[in-house]
Structure formats: structure tokens, C-alpha cells
């Protein structure tokens, strides 16, 4: 039997057993996740549909945008998959414990590369289907396309996703193979400094408005960007044109685009296999050879230790340990940097879109949407990194558990560390967003208060629920996060965002529309602010109290 058949057989067994394990899980958990996914998809579907209807009502630029939106969507998905695949490749090709296992067996390199290509493609693209399905369904419904539209989408999407993922893999392999590791730190610093300078330059540069200030003008300003999506050399355009042609039963044109996508996808796969075979092995040995030895530089930590000297020694020890672990785990800081970096880049470019010249109503809406995006990023970071922290102590819990430090203090230290990391970043981002939008002081204050309160609440929820559902046996962070507690934490955090941001945003929106004013507005505003503090306060304190109770009752 060939090694490839063995690997395929192993993968089949893996998925069959995973399915069996899933069937043995709590029904409550399965239903809870299924219900949440359904509500999530339906909400997105309604949002996309409302968006299309809105664009349609604008006529002119709106109609043009709808026509090009499909191409833009596939261009965006393609770029995101390339970036995602570049990041995931490092884990799947160079950090996976499966690779040394396979390399120590007589498995041809060609098969290992193909297996890792498929694994990377699945890992970097599966989540996009959660956005693709409602978007495409809304688009099809709005444009009155045939129900077969879904099938054509699937047919075109798979080779397209493989193509994008393959490009990401090739970039990543070439980077690891050829980029001198000694220059990595310098390059990263240069990139960061460059990004900061670009943001600063962007903030200082206010482009003068030529003539119109209407909404149509602002939408029309986006059209040149859309031109890239409809460039005939872009594979995203082949996909969108092909699907539309198939939906309109223009079979010849549709098949031509399908053939273009499939052949290019196969070409990329061939390049991954052939170049990967040449690049991967030396790159892998390079990574292995540079992975050990050397002393970790601790330039930052003595200073940090002096700054934290005001804390009790045991608390300082815990905080320093967590900061060290965070900084020395590229997975954690790189994700935080990427998420918040993208938001900072977007916020600093708000004036390029001339959002600051929109009427108050729109600027208010954008400001609160920005609060939502910052808070959603905090939710994902809280779920991914704050929630599993206590469980991950499991392997070393005896160190903390046997010390005279109370578990309540451990929990509160985790909470404050997470909060003090998230609060300044979220408020800083909201100040940047408000400044770029030229928002009025009230909107700025409310947006910053929301972001700050939510940072505390998300830290409290993630730490508290993490303690309630603590799992000291589990060593894999991904397994901890995907458990019932992790899912509950994410769902509750997302509902909290909606419950807190919507009332505050709505009262200001109605005020800007002139629906409420005077004392009615003041009372409404006072109630929503009270609601904000009460909800986020409860979301912070209750999980922490429950977490402390759970830790006190814990045998470890």
C-alpha cells in the first residue's frame, strides 16, 4: 500500500472517531452550539440582505457596488485565505508533532507536502464558510438567482480556496527557507515602526474634499477600489463571473471560467508539491537547528519587575509570569498584534474614506460599529487566551496551589492582568476612531466608556467562566477553548456586546435623527448609562464570584 493511501486511511479513521467522540458529548452542548450557529447565520443573512436592500435604494453608485460586490467578496476572501494560510503553514509544516513522526518513517516527502497542503487549506478556509454562506444566500436572494447558485459556488470555491491557500503556503515556505533568521527581529521592528509612522502620517493628513459631501459621493469614492476586484487577471473575478454565468445558464462561459479556476488551482498544487519538496526539507532542518540553544534575552523584564515592585511579591510573581509567557509565545502576541493592528490601520484610514465628513447620524453609527469591532476582537482574544489561562496552569498548578497564595487572589490577579492589558488598548483605539471621525465629545466619551467597561466585563467573564469550567487535565489550549465552557464564554460575551452597545448607540442615533431631544434624551441617556454600568458590572463580578466558589471546591 502506498504511503498516501495509508495517510488517507488514517485521516478517514480520524474523522470517523472524531464523529463518534462528538456523538458522546453532552446533548446540551451540541444543541447550544448548533442553536448559536443558526442564530449567528440567520443574523448575518438578515444583515447582508438589509445591506443589499439599502444599497439598492441609493441607485447610481449603490447599484454599481452591488454588481461588483460579488467580485470584491471573492477578492477579499482570497486575500484573507492567503494571509491566513501563510500564518497557519508555520504551525502545520514546522511545528506539528506529526511531521517528525512522518519524517522518521519511510513516507515520501511528496506525500507529506500534499497532506500538509490539504490540512492547511482546510484549517485556513473552513471558518470563511460561516461568512460565505449567509453572504451568498443574501446575494442570490436579492439578485433573484437560481437555487443552483449554491452548487456552482461550491464547485468554484473549492479550487479557488486551494489556489489561495497554496499561494500562502509557497510564500511561507520561501520565507522560512530563504529569510535570514538573524534579521527577523530587526525586520519585525522595522515593520512595526513603519506601520506606526504610516498611522501617524495618516492621522496628520486630512485630504481636502473636492466637491460633494453626500453619501453617494462617499460610496462612489470606493469604486476605484472595486476596479481591482473586476480585473480580468484576478482569479476572484473568474470565480464570480463563472458562478453568475452558470446561474444564468450561460454554460459555455461558465465552464470556461470553471476550467480556468480548476487548472490554475491544479497548477498551484503542482507548484506546492514540486517547490515544497525542494524548499521544505532544508527549511525544516533550518528551523530545527535554530530551535535549541541560546539564552533568552530578558531586557524588558528587570525594568518591568522594578515597575511592578509596588505589588505584593506573590501577585507580582504571577503577573510577571503571565507577561513573560505572553511575550514568549508568538502565537499569543502575534494574534493580538494582527487583530488590533488591522483595527488601528482601519481606524487611521477612516478619513481616507471621508467618513469624518458624513452627517452626525452616520458618524455616530460608524463610531458604535467601531466599538463593536474592537469589542468583538476583545471577545475572541478573551475566549482564546484569557479563558484557558487557569486550565493551562493545570500542569503547574501544584506550584501555585501549594503556595500560600489564595486561589481567590490567583483569580483576581488573572482578571486584573487581562483587564489592564485590554482596557488601554481598547480605549486607545476608540480615541483614535473618534478622532478620525471628528466625533463630538459626547460620542467620544460614550464610545470610550463602552470600550473600557466591556474590556473589564470580557476579562471578568473569560476569567470567571474559565475558573468555573476549569480543566486541569487538558494540555491542549484549543481543546480547552472548544469545550462547553469556552463556547459558553464566547456566546455570552457576544450577547453582552449586543446588549450593551445597542441601547447606547440607539439613544444617540435617535437623538441625531431628532426623534428624541431635551429632557427625554437626557433621561434616556442616563438610563442607558446606568444599564451599561449595571450590565458590565454584573458580567464582571458574577462570573468571578462563581469562579472563586468553584476553585475553593476544587480537588487538584
Amino acid at each position: 500500500m502506498s504511503a498516501w493511501r495509508a495517510l488517507s486511511g488514517k485521516t478517514r479513521c480520524h474523522w470517523r472517531n472524531t464523529w463518534r467522540v462528538l456523538q458522546q458529548q453532552s446533548r446540551l452542548k451540541v444543541w447550544f452550539i448548533a442553536l448559536f450557529a443558526l442564530v449567528f447565520e440567520l443574523t448575518l443573512l438578515i444583515l447582508f440582505l438589509r445591506g443589499f436592500i439599502f444599497l439598492n435604494t441609493l441607485g447610481g453608485a449603490g447599484t454599481l457596488i452591488i454588481n461588483r460586490l460579488f467580485s470584491l467578496f471573492f477578492l477579499g476572501v482570497g486575500i484573507m485565505i492567503v494571509i491566513s494560510s501563510m500564518i497557519i503553514t508555520y504551525s502545520t509544516f514546522f511545528r506539528s508533532p506529526e511531521v517528525p513522526f512522518l519524517l522518521s518513517h519511510p513516507v515520501p516527502l511528496y506525500d507529506i507536502i500534499t497532506l500538509k497542503f490539504l490540512e492547511t487549506t482546510v484549517l485556513c478556509s473552513w471558518a470563511f464558510f460561516f461568512i460565505m454562506i449567509p453572504f451568498l444566500a443574501a446575494y442570490a436572494y436579492h439578485q433573484g438567482l437560481s437555487p443552483l447558485f449554491g452548487l456552482w459556488n461550491l464547485l468554484f470555491s473549492i479550487p479557488y480556496l486551494g489556489m489561495a491557500s497554496g499561494i500562502g503556503i509557497l510564500i511561507s515556505l520561501a520565507f522560512v527557507r530563504w529569510f535570514p533568521r538573524r534579521l527577523l527581529r530587526t525586520t519585525l521592528i522595522l515593520v512595526l515602526v513603519g506601520a506606526c509612522l504610516a498611522v501617524a502620517w495618516s492621522i496628520r493628513t486630512v485630504r481636502p474634499l473636492q466637491d460633494d459631501t453626500t453619501l453617494q459621493f462617499n460610496l462612489a469614492a470606493l469604486l476605484p477600489g472595486l476596479a481591482l476586484a473586476t480585473n480580468r487577471w484576478m482569479p476572484g473575478w473568474w470565480v464570480s463571473e463563472g458562478i453568475l454565468a452558470m446561474s444564468k445558464m450561460e454554460w459555455g462561459r461558465g465552464m470556461m471560467f470553471l476550467a480556468a479556476v480548476i487548472t490554475n488551482g491544479m497548477l498551484v498544487l503542482l507548484l506546492v508539491q514540486e517547490l515544497g519538496r525542494v524548499w521544505f526539507e532544508p527549511a525544516w532542518h533550518e528551523v530545527q537547528s535554530s530551535a535549541s540553544g541560546g539564552n533568552t534575552r530578558a531586557v524588558l523584564f528587570p525594568r518591568l519587575s522594578r515597575i511592578l515592585a509596588i505589588l505584593r511579591p506573590d501577585v507580582r510573581g504571577l503577573v510577571l509570569k503571565d507577561i513573560r509567557m505572553f511575550i514568549r509565545d508568538p502565537m499569543q502576541w502575534s494574534q493580538a498584534l494582527i487583530f488590533f493592528g488591522i483595527l488601528a490601520f482601519y481606524f487611521s484610514n477612516l478619513r481616507s474614506f471621508r467618513y469624518h465628513l458624513l452627517p452626525d447620524t452616520w458618524r455616530n453609527t460608524i463610531a458604535f460599529l467601531n466599538v463593536f469591532s474592537v469589542s468583538a476582537v476583545m471577545c475572541s482574544l478573551g475566549a482564546r487566551f484569557v479563558y484557558p489561562q487557569l486550565s493551562l496552569e493545570g500542569q503547574a498548578f501544584w506550584t501555585v496551589g501549594l503556595s500560600p497564595l489564595t486561589l481567590k487572589r490567583v483569580l483576581l490577579t488573572k482578571f486584573w492582568t487581562a483587564s489592564l492589558a485590554l482596557v488601554p488598548v481598547s480605549i486607545g483605539l476608540m480615541l483614535l476612531s473618534s478622532s478620525m471621525l471628528s466625533a463630538n465629545p459626547l460620542t467620544t466619551l460614550l464610545a470610550c466608556s463602552l470600550a473600557g467597561c466591556l474590556a473589564f466585563a470580557i476579562s471578568g467573564l473569560s476569567t470567571g467562566i474559565g475558573a468555573v469550567y476549569i480543566d486541569l487535565e487538558q494540555r491542549n489550549p484549543a481543546a480547552i477553548v472548544s469545550g462547553f465552557g469556552g463556547t459558553l464564554n464566547l456566546v455570552v460575551s457576544l450577547f453582552l456586546l449586543l446588549a450593551v452597545i445597542l441601547p447606547v448607540g440607539a439613544i444617540l442615533h435617535w437623538h441625531n435623527l431628532g426623534w428624541i431631544s431635551g429632557w427625554r434624551f437626557q433621561i434616556g441617556l442616563a438610563i442607558t448609562i446606568l444599564w451599561l454600568f449595571a450590565t458590565t458590572g454584573a458580567a464582571t463580578i458574577i462570573p468571578l464570584v462563581l469562579g472563586v466558589r468553584r476553585l475553593r471546591a476544587l480537588d487538584f
Partner: protein, 241 residues
């Protein structure tokens, strides 16, 4: 069977292995001893193709581990100190998968699996997922999977970690018997008593250099020790100092 010529390995500016020359004939059980960080695992990883040497070469049954890696791997078995196992496969599925990688026909593989499962008392865990096995059972499973293709050369990094006394006795007997049947075993360990007990030849490595080589009797004679521990402590430097 194992022929090592002037093997060296650098990690950046740090040299982990200097000019290692060694021959291990067929049917011999070779024990590689050394303090932490001495270069034992580096040597083992080079011999199994997981690391590329910076200098020199290594041959397994005449096959160069770099240029004829597939041929060398086909006759080799490797048990690392922290072995990787597929958590979502059952024990039998994992062994069948390993057998497939070595191109063993399924019928033959099943006979071999039955034999080794009985030998390592794994019969009651045939349908158990790997993730549900204790550390000791996982170790026993990796032995089963590695021995399926009857390797001519077996590399083991710390062979007795996490095993109960019964399994330790079983493995010692198994290794002795395998060597009698012609298998070459190259193992690294910190347990000096194990080396004293089963090794035909012992190599001591310190700071990347092979500093002693010979049978237990030769080492005792040449280095004036009453036992292997005295020899080892006299020859090597304390990594804690």
C-alpha cells in the same frame, strides 16, 4: 550496521556535536550515556533523519541517512522519549496505519499486531482511542507499532520512561532477545543500571564529544571505577556546575 564518520552538528553558533566516529556492529545493544545536553538526542535525531548533520555522515546498513533516507528508514525503528501518537485513532488503527507506512500487507500486519498486543498486554485496549490511554500504555503502544516491521536497527531515546516494573522487565528481555536475533539497538538513557544490565557496548558523550567507548568491563578497567556510576561521574562534567 551503524557507521558514523566524523559527525558534527551546530545549532547557530553553538556546537552540539564534535567529530563523532562510531561503529555499532549487527546484533549489538549499544548504550549511549551522557549528562543532560551532552548531545545524545542530537545524535539520535541525525541517525533517524530528523536533523541534518553539519559535518560528516552516518550510514545505516550501508545507506546514508541523508542521501538514502527512505532506504535507511525502511529498516529502522525509532522510539522517541516523547512519542507522537494520533489521539483520535484506536490502538489497532494506529498500528495498522504504521504497518501501511512500511508497506506490510494487511493480513501480515494483523498477525504481527496480535502478537505484539499479546506480548505487551494491550489486547483489552484494541478499540480504545489513543487519547484515552495512560502514559505507560502509550509507551507500550509505541513499542508495538515500532516493532511491527521487524526493524534491523532500533533507536530508542530513554526506553523506560513511565513504564511499570513488569513492562521494564519485558522490554529488557525483548531487547536482549532481539539482539540475539540480529537486531541492532542504539539507545540513550540516564539510567546507568540499565546500561550495566543489558549493554554490549557503552559510549559516554560529554559536551558533544565521545569521551569513552567500550564494554562495561573495559570501561571499569580503563577508568578505574568500581561500577559504571563511578566511571560516568569521573569522566563527565556536572552540567549544574
Amino acid at each position: 550496521m551503524i557507521h558514523i564518520e566524523h559527525l558534527g552538528k551546530d545549532y547557530g553558533t553553538k556546537t552540539a556535536l564534535y567529530d563523532l566516529c562510531l561503529d555499532v556492529p549487527p546484533g549489538q545493544l549499544f548504550c549511549f550515556l551522557g549528562p543532560n545536553g551532552a548531545g545524545k538526542t542530537t545524535t539520535l535525531k541525525i541517525l533517524t533523519g530528523l536533523l541534518r548533520p553539519s559535518r560528516g555522515r552516518a550510514l545505516i546498513h550501508g545507506f546514508d541517512v541523508r542521501t538514502q533516507a527512505q532506504e535507511a528508514k525502511a529498516i529502522t525503528g525509532y522510539i522517541p522519549d516523547m512519542p507522537f501518537l494520533y489521539d483520535r485513532l484506536t490502538t489497532v488503527e494506529f498500528c495498522e496505519f504504521t504497518a501501511d507506512l512500511f508497506h506490510i500487507p494487511l493480513s501480515e500486519a494483523r498477525l504481527s499486531i496480535n502478537r505484539w498486543f499479546e506480548c505487551f498486554s494491550l489486547d483489552t485496549y484494541r478499540s480504545t482511542l489513543v487519547k484515552d490511554l495512560s502514559h505507560g500504555l502509550r509507551q507500550r503502544l509505541i513499542y508495538c507499532a515500532t516493532l511491527l516491521h521487524n526493524p534491523q536497527v532500533l533507536f530508542i531515546d530513554e526506553p523506560l520512561i513511565g513504564l511499570d516494573p513488569y513492562t521494564i522487565r519485558l522490554i529488557k528481555n525483548l531487547l536482549r532477545e532481539s539482539c540475539r536475533n540480529g537486531m541492532t539497538v542504539f539507545l540513550t538513557t540516564h539510567i546507568l543500571a540499565l546500561a550495566e544490565d543489558i549493554a554490549d557496548q557503552i559510549g559516554i558523550i560529554d559536551d558533544g564529544r565521545l569521551i569513552a567507548l567500550g564494554t562495561l568491563a573495559e570501561l571499569k578497567r580503563d577508568h578505574g571505577g568500581m561500577n559504571l556510576e563511578d566511571c560516568f561521574l569521573g569522566l563527565t562534567s556536572n552540567p549544574q556546575e
